[in-house]
Symmetry: C2
Subunit: 510 residues, 2 copies
Amino acid sequence: MADDTVRGVASIDPRTGATVEVVAQETTTAEVDRLCTAALAAAPALEERGRAGRAALLRALADALEGRRDDVVAVADRETALGATRLNGELTRTRFQLRLFAEVLEEGGYLEAALDPAGDTPMGPRPDLRRMLVPIGPVAVFGASNFPLAFSVPGGDTASALAAGCPVVVKAHGSHPATSQLVFEVLEQAARKAGAPEGTLGLVHGVQGGADLMAHPAIRAVGFTGSVGGGRALLQIIESRPDPIPFFGELSSLNPVVVTPQAAAERAADIATGLVGSFTLGAGQFCTKPGLAFVPSGADGDALVDAMATAVGRLPAQVLLNEGIAAAYARISGELARQRAVRPVARGADPAGAGFEAVPLLLTTDAADLPDAVTEECFGPVAVVARYDGEAGLSAALERMPSSLTATVLRGDGETALPLAVSQQLRGRAGRLVYDAYPTGVAVSWAQHHGGPWPSTNSQHTSVGTTAVRRFLRPVAWQNAPQEVLPEELTDGFTGIPRRVDGVLRPAGA
Amino acid sequence: MADDTVRGVASIDPRTGATVEVVAQETTTAEVDRLCTAALAAAPALEERGRAGRAALLRALADALEGRRDDVVAVADRETALGATRLNGELTRTRFQLRLFAEVLEEGGYLEAALDPAGDTPMGPRPDLRRMLVPIGPVAVFGASNFPLAFSVPGGDTASALAAGCPVVVKAHGSHPATSQLVFEVLEQAARKAGAPEGTLGLVHGVQGGADLMAHPAIRAVGFTGSVGGGRALLQIIESRPDPIPFFGELSSLNPVVVTPQAAAERAADIATGLVGSFTLGAGQFCTKPGLAFVPSGADGDALVDAMATAVGRLPAQVLLNEGIAAAYARISGELARQRAVRPVARGADPAGAGFEAVPLLLTTDAADLPDAVTEECFGPVAVVARYDGEAGLSAALERMPSSLTATVLRGDGETALPLAVSQQLRGRAGRLVYDAYPTGVAVSWAQHHGGPWPSTNSQHTSVGTTAVRRFLRPVAWQNAPQEVLPEELTDGFTGIPRRVDGVLRPAGA
């Protein structure tokens, strides 16, 4: 930083707009260097703890977080206005996530261990080859504004990176620095108590600190949750490194929903309740918020839209996470409402207080004449309903969809033909296909995928679920290696994990 | 292309430098668009052929290549001067590779199929979730200069992309356009005969065609084998796309070799023969060429270097692949030899003909005073021997190593301590650790890995071996999906492939 003034990091109450406290100082370039250097130094010891040692560490972090539940939820609610119920759920999810990665470690299949014995093949003699995944090295994690726990300091990126065996330096999101600082201190103390090497966890505050982190030579991969603009800026820093590193960004998602004519006929009222609940959950600040719903024209669709309008009209103003999001919401939702062919059909109550409040908004348009603006994400409690005529009209409109984290089909009882056609059309543009449910719940599990083609992410990896760990690993092959230099999991006779031997997958114990 | 002059693509004989024929015209922007659009249109039908259908297609391609072996080897030898023995071996390897990917398809584990049944979890109710990998879409493959078959039109990128279910458009390398054109025609005819959809394969000639290919919206991923400069240029095109896509580039590799004092004492002559054979194989034009060897100081190391010098002194001049590589070799090897502290110890015979010939060269330097230039790849028949004093001297020098595809340890009989220390130090800088062998052979198998941290590749994926297929796949999750919309491999009761069910890995048939 050319300007070496040290700046305070303020914690702001979004319900009032007032600064409550100065949490920390912005992290200096020298301090970022110290944290990254410590992370690099910690990497071998963290790996040497092995799968069992890191599983114990993850469980210790989960327990420590649970032990400070009330304090963490209180400060997170004060900084985000997300409410205690949601934040308690988020803490439970975060604890569960840490513990699930401990199971992933113990199971060991994530290592993709493979052994090819030496021998003759149709292409000639083959040496003894053994392959598995190893930690990629220190990881930079950029916390998200909208999940102060599950996608921030103790979130999925941190849990999966530590599981992989990678030290983590987190860039705290400016929306919740006090929560970040508190949780970091809880985790760091627990890690130290559990015997993790110094440097296993680090925390950075401030924009310049984040840029310094991205550029630091010790950092080997990046997990990011945020905007396309923020992601592009970080990619530019990566491209100017002498050694570009893998970037896992979750950037933006429209999350289209299709209501079939049969579904609209059978359960318009239920769907209206579900959709409004989903797009206003957490004040519409979910990356999986359904931003655009396709509803058939005609009486059934009219009934559905009327029911949505009634529900939206009864909603109070909602407090957004920070001033920037509130200003962007006012601007973008206003632009949306002014689009040619877009009609506002309902709005919630006007703001009552001085905080970062937003008015819930329901808009409609014609699927046959979709303005470009409605195909872009707008963070906050707004959704657009596009009315379509027949399958051909729907299909033509779906061709305009950008890639998203999710695509949802709400279908009639037993209906399969149209859901299949929609699935086939949208599979190339989504990471998760949801049926008869709403996209805003993202379970943490073995079969989950939270990703998708650009701009949702860059296609190939997930930030939720057990396979998130793959982002922070890289393969290594050992050729003709003596047993003494091999990782335990690749040695002769080891049966503690699934391994592929000469092409044949063998479960653990076999 | 602003300049719409159509240019011919010349096939040049590197043994004479003469243009033998004009093979084709450079592909126009309009033609690239036609090929990419056809690839996009072919994608669903190629996927619908299923695993068995694509396995049959890969075997048909392998058979067709074998059927034209003599013609292919003849034209490839004329264009590359690699010799019939090597090129016959490369064709065998390429055929084997296509057939191995057919086995990968039949085995099905590559799909990473996972099913989580609905139920209650500690974080709350979980919906039914099912995940597997699907084709990413049309792939652009940039052929390599140095492997006209195994890393070009019919090579590993093409085989793994087709296996994944992705149509492929290949950018032919300018060094062997006639080979590329012939092999493309053989493959395309075989694909058509096997019932593959039109657009499954495409071929592009010329630099502008390659740039147009990278920028085309239908292309969803890129496989590239070439220089750091070329890779950086392609990355810039990707970053300027509205939708950046995954780039899998194999860019540059030094491939350090460590000879332990015990190995030098036990078998200096053998190692000298092996090392010289490895760094001059294919005229030193392997991405796995050992460019820098660490040899102990003292009498055993002296004997090893003397034996290497004798072997190099007996070598004839070697024909390089093209004029650009020959010019770069002359320049870079000349600069290397002029480095402070670098001493030329042997050179092969001077060129006799008018072709793109190069003089084999052996240089030595001190490990304690390694010039930067010797830590960079120099394509062609040159290697540097760095003499080291003791383990501390070796370790300090290894800290200077860039990341490589391989790192090799030549050890004494039963020796483990120093090999382990070197492995631990170099594992973070290499994709494959080789013991008591030379890095230039790369077997195609289940446990192979050909990649590494930048600049060798970008860390996480391989271009050789069965897991190369992962580059051209992306995950999708289905939530609460009716059986009718699921891929067969995720339906209830399917046991044809390994699947992870509620976290437990089940082999096929279970």
